[in-house]
Symmetry: C2
Subunit: 471 residues, 2 copies
Amino acid sequence: MSIWNYVVTAHKPTNVTHSCVGNFTNPHDINLIIAPMTNSAKTSLVCKRSGLIRSIAEPMEKTVYTTKVLRNGNIAKLQAGYLFPEIGRRRSAHMQKYPDANVISLGIGDTTEPIPEVITSAMAQRAQALSTIEGYSGYGAEQGEKVLRAALARTFYGDFGIKDTDIFVSDGAKCDISRLQLVFGSNVTIAVQDPSYPAYVDSSVIVGQTGSFEKDVQKYGKIEYMKCLPENDFFPDLLSVPRTDIIFFCSPNNPTGAAATRKQMKELVAFAKANGSIIIYDSAYAIYMSDDNPKSIYEIPGAREVAIETASFSKYAGFTGVRLGWTVVPDELRFSDGFPVANDFNRIMCTCFNGASNIAQAGGLACLSPEGLKAMYGVVEFYKENTKIIVDTFTSLGFQVYGGRNAPYVWVRFPGRKSWDIFAEILEKAHIVTTPGSGFGPGGEGFIRVSAFGHRENIVEAARRLKSLYK
Amino acid sequence: MSIWNYVVTAHKPTNVTHSCVGNFTNPHDINLIIAPMTNSAKTSLVCKRSGLIRSIAEPMEKTVYTTKVLRNGNIAKLQAGYLFPEIGRRRSAHMQKYPDANVISLGIGDTTEPIPEVITSAMAQRAQALSTIEGYSGYGAEQGEKVLRAALARTFYGDFGIKDTDIFVSDGAKCDISRLQLVFGSNVTIAVQDPSYPAYVDSSVIVGQTGSFEKDVQKYGKIEYMKCLPENDFFPDLLSVPRTDIIFFCSPNNPTGAAATRKQMKELVAFAKANGSIIIYDSAYAIYMSDDNPKSIYEIPGAREVAIETASFSKYAGFTGVRLGWTVVPDELRFSDGFPVANDFNRIMCTCFNGASNIAQAGGLACLSPEGLKAMYGVVEFYKENTKIIVDTFTSLGFQVYGGRNAPYVWVRFPGRKSWDIFAEILEKAHIVTTPGSGFGPGGEGFIRVSAFGHRENIVEAARRLKSLYK
């Protein structure tokens, strides 16, 4: 058997070209290399059927140089592109196919409404001031500006014992999740809600905390997936969850929209305390809470000793593109040897990060002024009205509908069907982008997530099309 | 021998309070725990002398709860705080001691001059536009806005075969260095120039590529330190450097200010190619080049197959607080199995990052307009004049002075002396903050780095004080 080197180029129907190089005994094996590149076996098969794969059977030793650096085995474990870019690619492919369609995106959870003027003015002023001697500032504190840290502590944690110095300002919660993974390193064990926001699992794989992906169960080895289904009120049965070092917990949850009650959160904190675990509590959607549930884990007594909280201005004030978030690491939180976790998080923030943009921080501060808060809640209220329209639409069609009351996400069940098939059906027939539930973990299979971020006319039009599709 | 648990609180002279918990057989051992917290044995001794350390000899089992999560051994290897925050702390302590002194900071390398109005206006406009339906934008591409990637490719890499899609826009080069470390993971070996910008070594320790710190040689195990001294023209003797997977190379260099010549860079690229290594080339100061040396590694034929380049608007346009940089990962760069490195970097950018601030990106684009470029070069020219004043000052005092011609850093030798002692002397006697050379690696011992970022009157005043101190 002789091994040949091929240069393989695959044109996807989207005109995106992928090329790669590998050793093959047989041109049919190119599937093996095209599949991870296009991040989907299905796409590669489509390419084959289109006859668009070309293989150039030239020995390539002289053509393509490769270094001797081994690819990182942890990254190689990742199964597909990060979920949301993948949805973006599918959306682009659809728009290519139907150039005249008015595609409505209720997929990625991207804010659409303008940022209130009181907030943008503060950013414009800060930007403009950078051209003056008095207004110029260079490197800021890696932890964020003191005045912003103080305002965050006062606004969101006033009664819960969180100090200004416990708060680290950043360029967003997703980025902080990866930095937290750097703090804990490869030897910790983690648990996640299933389904959950994919950044927890993916960043865990990247830093080497997991085993390989097990295709039969659609899970990575060594991660504890805590099933959250309608059947258990979207709250894990903690009696059956083994101890892990870290517990990622998002409430109100992305994607299910479920918010933990005070009773459930007390259980969670007690569970962590009994096990000596650390909870990373993602409160990115707390501002959308309608029911009387805790908005911060620090409302639960004792949580400062077992919990980190991440949060963000993205969905609070439309800062998805401006980039501003924060993470709370109380100084009461200790490793087993008594060393403060906050010290190591601070070290990571100082070494792997250089502070959030000063202009974005001026915007964050404006958000927390009395006018800013009022304006911010106004936009949130608008999205909550959108949410109600979507909930009512699916409910009127007889679906099992979850979420929506405490989060800008509606979680719709399609019993017996595959999430990606539902995603494809709604995209193909209604030109609406949603998010397939299985992208959030095996517990999301059979669901889709519908985001309420959108202009009102698009939400209303989407509701009309869905009623027409599923009537 | 009985082991007691103590809660120890240390007040530094700066009124910064550090507290920690540990097991001690003897109150004197608190030094061992205070030293890493205050990041300096010297500081802890100061605390002791001031009599401000209090130890509360209560058994703490009931007082302080600790989780059962083990501290990450890699982070525990780090020897001290990240260099620049440490200098900031010493500066604050000095200002506390001499509240009336006019302290001049030539330490951290922080820009001081206003950003040209043509650039801040673009940012202010973008910020203001976010309050309108037409001007609002949410999540941007994680890789940066297409128009900015294209402008960067055109402006800095026009003739070197770098494509728009090879360029990833980010919130800064320091952040990208850590993300690159995540790409390569814990199993690669690295080489660094000695001395060099501390982020390379520290991020390497954090992801687990190194052994422990070896106090006798002031080096971490498993890192190859390539000595760069005046004696070898600040360019490593590559014949004696063993192969590593990754070679960090900064030119013009921080801290020495030395820029590699074309001949040297050809040698470096040939060395990497022969070894199958990947160079991470840090060109953050390329705009300061006066001599006719390459400003990008891609000027060297074949470099696209072996090199990544990081760069930043921080020192180009005073964006240290605005936060904007970029990294070039050419698609020709491959792991040993032929897989493109750019694909994995893209995956990290999409999973651990969420794009640079859209307002900062508008600023970056304005920097690259004809007016923006002209204005940007104007500020750079100003700093270069500062540099000349500093070089002339130390030269006139008879010091061995390096750097300065191609970088905003002047590297001054104090034979037979310790860098931190020189740092302390200049701070104490001239109220000038510099950076101790040994903070950049053992090869920096006996040097200080003097930054040329400063208002002109401060540079002139610093020159006067230095002449008075060392006359």
